[in-house]
C-alpha cells in the first residue's frame, strides 16, 4: 500500500475513526503514483480543490509539478456548498454535492483526458461519509457502484474514504460491498494500528500492524514493513 501496492483496478476502502491518518494514507498513495507518472483524479466532498492542493503540496513540494504536467484532476463538489466559486488548475467544479450525475460526468471528463496518454490512473473519493450523511447508504452505494465500475473500466485504481463512528454497522457493510478490500485504521491506548483485508493476491486478511503518521506520511512500524503490504 505505502509503495503504491494496491492491485491495479482494485477499489480499496480506507476505514477508520477521525485523526488516525486516513487522509494522509490516501494522499500518500496518490503522491506515490504521481512520482511514478500515474495520474490522479481527486473527487472532493469535504474540502475545496485549493485546500486539498495545498495539503498535497505540504506532503510533497513536487506536487505543483505534477499539476502543471496535467497529471492531477480535481472534481470539486464541495466549494458550492460553502458558496465558493473555484478557478483552480485541473479542476472541474460540480454545483452540488448531491448532483451525482454531474460528479459522474466530471470524473468521466477527467478520465477521457487522462486516457489519451495514460493507460491507468488513481482515483480518490474523499469522502464517502459526507455522501452518506446527506443521503443514505443505499443512495451512496448506487452512485459509487456506477462511478467505481466505470472507473475500473477506464483503468482506475480507486480509494474510498469512510469515517468510523459516523455510520451504522449496516451502512458500513453496504459500503464495504463496493470495495475489493479494506484498509482499516484504529487507535488503541497509545498505539495506532492498521490492517489490510482482501487486497492481496489471495485475499488474505493480515493481522493488525502498528503504524505512525505525521502530516506528511504514514509509516508502518510493525511487521511486514520490509515490503509492500500485499
Amino acid at each position: 500500500m505505502l509503495d503504491g501496492g494496491v492491485p491495479d483496478h482494485a477499489t480499496a476502502l480506507i476505514y477508520g475513526p477521525p485523526f488516525v491518518g486516513k487522509e494522509v494514507l490516501a494522499r500518500q498513495f496518490i503522491l506515490t503514483g504521481l512520482r511514478k507518472g500515474i495520474p490522479a483524479i481527486l473527487v472532493l466532498t469535504n474540502a475545496t480543490a485549493p485546500e486539498t492542493h495545498e495539503r498535497l503540496r505540504q506532503m510533497d513540494p513536487k506536487f505543483d509539478e505534477h499539476v502543471r504536467a496535467g497529471l492531477v484532476r480535481f472534481v470539486d463538489a464541495y466549494s458550492p456548498t460553502i458558496g465558493a466559486s473555484v478557478q483552480h488548475p485541473g479542476t472541474e467544479q460540480v454545483d452540488g454535492l448531491l448532483n451525482f450525475n454531474a460528479v459522474t460526468a466530471a470524473v468521466n471528463n477527467a478520465q477521457r483526458v487522462l486516457l489519451r496518454h495514460h493507460p491507468g490512473h488513481h482515483l480518490l473519493f474523499e469522502s464517502v461519509s459526507t455522501l452518506v450523511a446527506y443521503t443514505n447508504a443505499q443512495t451512496a452505494f448506487r452512485f459509487l457502484q456506477v462511478l467505481v465500475g466505470r472507473s475500473r473500466a477506464a483503468g482506475a485504481t480507486s480509494i474510498l474514504l469512510l469515517e468510523r463512528g459516523m455510520h451504522s454497522e449496516e451502512e458500513v457493510q453496504t459500503i464495504k460491498h463496493l470495495s475489493s478490500g479494506v484498509i482499516e485504521l484504529k487507535s488503541e491506548a497509545t498505539r495506532l494500528l492498521l490492517r489490510v483485508e482482501g487486497l492481496g493476491v489471495d485475499g488474505t486478511a493480515y493481522p493488525w500492524m502498528e503504524y505512525r503518521f505525521s502530516e506528511k506520511s504514514v509509516e508502518v512500524t510493525g511487521s511486514l514493513t520490509a515490503g509492500r503490504i500485499r
Partner: protein, 394 residues
Amino acid sequence: MSATAGALGIPQLDAALAPMPARSTILVANDPGVEADTFLYQAAYRQLERGRTVVYAVFNRPPSSVARAMREYGFDTTPYARQFLLLDGYSALLGTRDPGAAYRLDNPTSIDDFGLLLETVSREHRDAALIVDPLSNLVDVLSVPEFVRKFPLLRQTLNHFELTVALFTQWPYADDVSKVFSDFDVVIALRGVEDRVLFGQYFALQRANWKPGLSTKPQLYKTHKPGGVHVYVPKIVVTGAYTAGKTTFIHAVSDTAKSANFEGSTVALDHGQVRIDGLSVDLFGTPGQERFDPILSTIAGQALGMILMVDSTAPETFDRARDMLNKIYREGLPAIVCANKQDLPNALSPSDVHARLRPPPGVQVVGCRANDRASSQEVLRRLLEQVLKTGVSA
C-alpha cells in the same frame, strides 16, 4: 399560446412530438454521467420566451445555480425574473436557505409535502410549466417501494400544469422503479456511447402516448455553452477536384475552420465546426490533388454525408470529380453535388453539371457560390435534411 408547441426547444424532438396535447408530461431518462440538465434548461427557456410561468423544482443543487448554469448555456432568465420561479428541494437537506428560490420545500424527503407544495403553486400560477430536476432524487431520499407507491398521487398533481418535464437519472435502482415511466406521456432516453469512458451521447424518443408506435432513430447530440443541445453530425466530408472550392466552402460556413495548407493548397485536410438549425456539424475537407488519394478513404471513413464540390466553370475537371466521388460514395450515403462558382459568367447551370457529371441516382446537384455564407449554408442544409432522414445514430 400553447405551452406544448415546440415545447422542448430542440427542433428534431419538437417536430417528432407535434402536435403535443396540453398538459403533457415528459420524462427525460438519462444514463448516469450523460449530460441531461441542458434539455430541461432549454425547455424552461422556451416556455419563458413564450410568456409562460415556469416553476423549476430542483433537488440536487442550490436553486440559484440553475439560473447561473442556464445563463452559461445562453438561456438568460434575468428578463423573465417574474415568470421564473425556483422551487428549492435541496437547501433544507443541508440546513441552508437559497434566497433566489420562490418556494422552499422544508422537508425534501417527503414526496407528500412536495405534492402539496405543487398543489399550492399550481393554484397560484395557473397554466404554468413545471420542471423537476431530477425526479430520481426523490427515490434516493425515500426508497424504491415508497416512491413507487406514492408516485401516482404526485402524478395527478402534475396534471395541474400545462406542461411537465422531469429528469430521471437511471441509477441501478430496483426494476420496480421503471413502472413510473409508464405514467408519463412521453419518454425520451439519453444514453452514452461508451468505450472505456463515455465519449459521446445520444437521445432517442421512446414513446409518445398520442402517437402510438412512434419511436425515433437515435440522434447523437452535443451541448454548447452558449447554444444548448444540438444534434451532432460527427462527420460530413467535403471533397472535390483541386481548386473546386472545398476550403472556401468550409470557411464560409464555419467560424472555427482550420486548414492544413501549403502555399494556398490543402495538403492534409480542412476541418470546421458548424452550428446550424439546431445541429452541430463537423466538416472534414479532403485535398483535391491526386497524390493525396491514398488518404481519401481515411478522411472520409465513417462519414454520415458527403458534399462533392465541382467548379462549374471547368468541365474538364469533372472526370476527376467523378473519380473522387466514386472513391468515397457508397450506396445509401447522403450526398449532394455543389455546382460552385455560379457567380462567374461562364458557369454551367446545375442541370448542365448534372448532365455532364452523371452522379449516382438520387444525388442532387445544387448551384452555389462557396464564397457566400448564405449560399453555402443552403447547400449544407439540403444535405443535412437527407442525413437526418437517415438518422444520426450512435
